[in-house]
Structure formats: structure tokens, C-alpha cells
């Protein structure tokens, strides 16, 4: 069943077109990846979908409804985002950060109920972070911060996650931990992914972006071939199925070998 349908999404920062007639679909339970070089528009496309930006033109349909006309509270109950958090000069505890995930469930006069606190507690427990609940978010390490944001998305209780390169500057152990965890949640996922090996490991389907356009789509096997990787990234590579994972494994080849 189709959950998200994006048609002809176009967005530009000033005169620079960052997303150019992008169309994509995400079905229920799918793990879909957006890949492409730096500045290819992955993040812009995602921001338009999670309403951080408003598209110049195009339509976005979520569960059959026009997303752009939906009240923000409603879209936030359907869609949760884990992104790269901007630096915040304000001090919140881990618990307070996670509790912010409850806000789309709250009306103007609602107060926090014991149930909200329970949900927040469970979310923290899920990620093994209960002991950090009262700590200051600002003083956590990068990996811990990322886990807090995932806990916040869990507290949001939506079954569709958008990942805006959350693992970008994390150690590989944290990256794996986070993707493994999200995979176990069995929710629908649309993620920008920097690392092609990660994309091959976790994604059911991939969209390749280049200069704001979707240039390819398909399963990792269809998309991640040496020719196509060369067309998009300009590097030579060897792609093979890894015996342990059964997934594709990409090795980039330095100039002296590929020449």
C-alpha cells in the first residue's frame, strides 16, 4: 500500500534549483534510501516532505491526503523526523528533549499526563538511555544526541520515519547501531544515506539524486552497478555480493588500479 507519493516536487534557494521535478513513492513498511553526491538535493527533498521547507511547485500526498494542506499537528503525528540537529544555545534535559515528541499529540490547553511520561520513559528505555534522563542534552556526545532524537521520534508514536542523514558524522559502530535499531522498529522509512554500503545493507529501494533530479531508481542490485556509480559519483568501483550479508558490497578503486 502506498503511503507517500511525491510528484514533480521543485524547490529552489533563491536562483539555485535544489530539487527539480522530483517524484518518488514510499510503500507501507518499505525502507527507501535517497543517495547521491553532496549537494545533490537529498536533504532539500526530505525537508520539503517533512515540512521544514515549502515546495515551489509539485504535490505531496501522505496516506491519500494532501500533505501541504494538512494541519502541522496532524502531519507530525503521521511522520517523525530524525535529522541533524542544529546547535541550540538553550539547555534542555534529555527527558525534556524526548518529551517534545509528545507535542503533536497535545492541544492548546492539554497538560502532560502520566501516560506521556510513561511513553517518554519507554522511549528512553528502548534506547538504553534511562540513566541519562536528567542530563543536559548539550553535554552529550554526538552519538548520544542522535539516540535522544530517535527516542523523541519514538515518543512521537508515528509509523513513518524520515531520516535526514542522522548518522553522517558518527562512528561506524553508532551508524550500524542506529540503522539496526530502526530496522527492528518495523516502520516505514525514507532516509537520505551518504554511505553506499549502508544503503546496500539496509534499503529495499533506492532513489539516486544528481543535481536535484532523480536519475535512477530501483533495488540496490539495479542501482548500485559500477557503471552507474561512475556516472553519478565519478569514481570506479567493484561491486560484489558479500557472502556473509547476502547484500551488495561496494569497494571504491583508487585511480592507479582503475586506470
Amino acid at each position: 500500500m502506498l503511503r507517500l507519493q511525491v510528484n514533480d516536487l521543485t524547490y529552489s534557494y533563491g536562483d539555485r534549483e535544489a530539487a527539480d521535478h522530483v517524484s518518488l513513492q514510499v510503500g507501507r513498511g518499505e525502507f527507501v534510501g535517497l543517495i547521491g553526491p553532496n549537494g545533490s538535493g537529498k536533504s532539500t527533498v526530505l525537508k520539503n516532505i517533512y515540512r521544514g521547507l515549502t515546495p515551489d511547485s509539485g504535490t505531496i500526498t501522505l496516506d491519500g491526503e494532501d500533505l501541504l494542506a494538512m494541519p502541522y499537528r496532524k502531519s507530525a503525528r503521521k511522520l517523525a523526523v530524525v535529522g541533524q540537529e542544529n546547535e541550540v544555545p538553550f539547555d534542555f534535559t534529555v527527558e525534556e528533549m524526548v518529551a517534545m515528541g509528545r507535542s503533536p499529540h497535545k492541544r492548546l490547553f492539554d497538560i502532560d499526563t502520566p501516560r506521556d511520561r510513561q511513553i517518554v520513559h519507554h522511549a528512553l528505555e528502548h534506547l538504553g538511555m534511562e540513566h541519562l534522563a536528567k542530563r543536559s542534552y548539550l553535554r552529550l556526545s554526538g552519538g548520544e544526541k542522535q539516540r535522544v532524537l530517535i527516542a523523541r521520534a519514538i515518543a512521537q508514536e508515528s509509523d513513518f520515519l524520515i531520516l535526514d542523514e542522522p548518522t553522517n558524522h558518527l562512528d561506524v559502530s553508532y551508524q550500524m547501531q542506529i540503522f539496526d535499531f530502526i530496522k527492528r522498529l518495523k516502520v516505514t522509512v525514507l532516509s537520505a544515506i551518504h554511505d553506499l554500503n549502508m544503503a546496500a545493507l539496509y534499503c529495499d529501494r533506492l532513489y539516486v539524486l544528481q543535481r536535484g533530479r532523480v536519475v535512477m531508481e530501483g533495488t540496490p542490485e539495479q542501482v548500485l552497478t559500477p557503471q552507474r556509480i561512475y556516472e553519478v559519483y565519478g569514481v570506479h568501483s567493484a561491486v560484489e555480493r558479500h557472502p556473509a550479508t547476502g547484500k551488495l558490497s561496494i569497494t571504491f578503486l583508487p585511480a592507479e588500479i582503475s586506470a
Partner: protein, 354 residues
């Protein structure tokens, strides 16, 4: 293991804290009302005040002199009450502006909002430009001035959809210099000298000459804005995370930002109209409040309001005592104290980033 405890904050006991602050506010009200070039003892002040409470008057024998009563009720009490309201408004206005620009260095004074309000208000004062608006013409012209300035500074400091702190502070400086210039031009071409003198004293920020009639509008605005902000405390918290995260967590960012511009301009405009520009209160108070209770606006808003009120009343006491019987404008004192604190915060914010 040492790091384990670093940055852990104990949950603030809010009922206790608010109770203490409310008690401190009451004590401040009584003690500060008695203090001035002519002092009235706190006990006498308290009795005079209590005698005005309906139903209590008959139980309190009148042991004080009529002069004391006049000073307390006619002169000091309105001034102290106005100080409370102005201080609370400025502090809450600072909180609102900081949420709007996502930076704890925002303050109506630093970003030139006070100067904008002053420019428009001077125009009204000296030329009667807004006199068709009636009794509240001064407040309304100050409101228009602050709204215009906030919008200007906000628009100028947005670079690619994000507030840039350097841009923010610099456009604040530029706008406030422009507004100062405009104010000077207005003053130089002023038609009468008396109005000019009044405008001068008013602009340096003073609570002297407070009347009960001054109190109504700022108090109503403060209560209304406080209610609006408290109802939206979740939105304010989320706004601190940035527009994108706030949108993704169910906040209509544009609408909330418009609301904040409106609320901040209303509070800045109405308080500046009655007290001139009293700087740095909106910077210092929210900062120390956050050190006390963390970043959650549910707690920051009421605590800031109380602390701001208490602070301004005491600074005003100092203003009328330091060179008594002469008076210092309050705004000068807050600037002398607030300036260094601003510099310290600026230093610190750079160190945290680097």
C-alpha cells in the same frame, strides 16, 4: 566518573520556587515602597497598604502621618507597581524575542527595538503625529515603532532561512543607530523646549512620575501576552530547535513567529511608552532564569516575569537613592550593570561553539 555528574540538573521544585519568588515580590513591594529620599519604615508602609484592603481598614488604627500616607500611596506605590509590571514585561519580552531569533543574546534594547519605539514615540510626543489615537497615542506609536524594528532586524538577520547571530547583532546595532539618528532629527526640529526636556528624560528610562493611570495598559498587555505565551509553551520550546524541527514536530512555524513578533512588540511598546528604554533586563533575567530552571518555557516564563519585576523595582530604588535628592534614570543603571553581563555572555557563547 566525574563526567557522569557533570551537567546533571536536579528537577527544580517549581511550587516552592514560585512561592518564594511571590513572597519576595510582596516583601519587595512593601520595603521598596518605603525607600526613597524620604523613607517610611516597612512596618508603617505595610500598615498603610493594609488599611487600603477592603474590610481590613477598621482593624488598623491610623498611627501614621498624612504625609507618609501621601508619599506611600500617591508617589511610591504606583512607581513600585509600575516597576514590577515594566520589569516583568521586559523580561518576558526578552524570552519571546530569544525564542523568535533562537538566540539567548536577544533583548529589546540590544536589537534596537527600544530605539525604534523611542523614535516613533518621540515623533508622537513632539509633533503629535499620532494624537488622533487619543490617550494611548504614545503607547500605540511606541508599539508601531517596536514592531517595525523587530520585523526589520528579523528579516535582515535571516540568511538562507536561518538566523545568523553576527548578522542579528549587527543589524540590531545598525537599526538602533538609524533610529537614534531619526530621534535626534525629530528632537532638533522640535517645536517646543518643554516637550524636548520631557522626551530626553523619558528616553533615558525612568519610572519617576509614575501615575496609577500609567499602569492599566501595560498590566493588561502583560497579562494577555503572558497567557498567550504560556498556552504556546510547547511551541516556544520547539522553536528553539530550529524552524525545520519545529515544523516536523507539529508547529505552524510561520504563524507562531508572527504571534511572537506581535507579542514582543506589544510588550516592548507599552512598557517603553511608560518608562522609556530600560535596557538589558530582557537579556539578564531570562539568562539567570534558565540557569535556575533550565530551558523549558513552562518554567522560564513565570520565573522570568517575577524575577524581572523584582529586579527593576530594586534598581529603581537604587536610582532614587544613589544621588538623592537627585534621581538617576533607571535605564542608565541597568545599562551599567547589563553591559558587562552581555559581554560575558557573548564571550561564553563563542567559547561553547569553539
Amino acid at each position: 566518573m566525574k563526567m557522569q555528574f557533570h551537567g546533571r540538573r536536579r528537577e527544580p521544585n517549581m511550587p516552592l520556587l514560585l512561592g518564594l519568588l511571590a513572597a519576595a515580590a510582596v516583601v519587595t513591594l512593601v520595603v521598596a515602597t518605603g525607600l526613597g529620599p524620604v523613607s517610611v519604615s516597612p512596618a508603617t508602609t505595610a500598615r498603610i497598604l493594609l488599611s487600603r484592603v477592603p474590610g481590613l481598614a477598621s482593624h488598623i488604627p491610623q498611627t501614621w502621618e498624612a504625609l507618609d500616607q501621601n508619599i506611600v500611596l500617591g508617589l511610591r506605590l504606583p512607581r513600585v507597581c509600575l516597576g514590577m509590571v515594566v520589569g516583568a514585561s521586559l523580561a518576558v519580552c526578552g524570552v519571546a524575542m530569544q525564542a523568535l531569533v533562537r538566540n539567548n543574546l536577544a533583548d529589546p534594547f540590544i536589537l534596537g527595538v527600544s530605539n525604534g519605539a523611542a523614535a516613533f514615540a518621540t515623533l508622537g510626543m513632539l509633533f503629535g503625529a499620532f494624537s488622533f489615537l487619543g490617550t494611548y497615542s504614545l503607547s500605540i506609536s511606541a508599539f508601531i515603532g517596536s514592531a517595525a524594528t523587530i520585523l526589520c532586524v528579523y528579516t535582515l538577520s535571516r540568511v538562507r532561512g536561518r538566523i545568523n547571530i553576527t548578522q542579528l547583532l549587527l543589524s540590531g546595532v545598525a537599526i538602533s543607530m538609524m533610529m537614534d539618528g531619526i530621534t535626534s532629527i525629530i528632537k532638533l526640529s522640535a517645536p517646543n523646549a518643554l516637550g524636548l526636556h520631557n522626551a530626553e528624560f523619558w528616553m533615558s528610562g525612568s519610572l519617576a512620575g509614575a501615575k496609577w493611570a500609567y499602569l492599566t495598559l501595560p498590566l493588561v498587555v502583560l497579562l494577555a501576552c503572558m497567557a498567550v505565551l504560556l498556552l504556546n509553551y510547547r511551541g516556544l520550546n520547539l522553536l528553539l530547535l530550529g524552524d525545520e524541527s519545529a515544523g516536523a514536530l507539529g508547529i505552524n512555524v510561520r504563524r507562531l513567529q508572527k504571534l511572537l513578533v506581535l507579542v514582543a512588540s506589544l510588550m516592548a511598546g507599552t512598557t517603553i511608552a511608560v518608562s522609556g528604554s530600560i535596557g538589558f533586563v530582557g537579556l539578564m533575567v531570562p539568562h539567570f532564569t534558565r540557569m535556575l530552571v533550565g530551558g523549558d518555557h513552562k518554567r522560564v516564563l513565570p520565573v522570568s516575569a517575577l524575577l524581572g519585576g523584582i529586579l527593576v523595582v530594586w534598581v529603581d530604588v537604587a536610582a532614587r537613592l544613589l544621588i538623592a535628592p537627585e534621581e538617576l534614570p533607571v535605564g542608565i543603571l541597568t545599562a551599567v550593570v547589563g553591559g558587562p553581563i552581555f559581554i560575558w555572555m557573548l564571550k561564553r557563547s563563542h567559547r561553547e561553539k569553539g
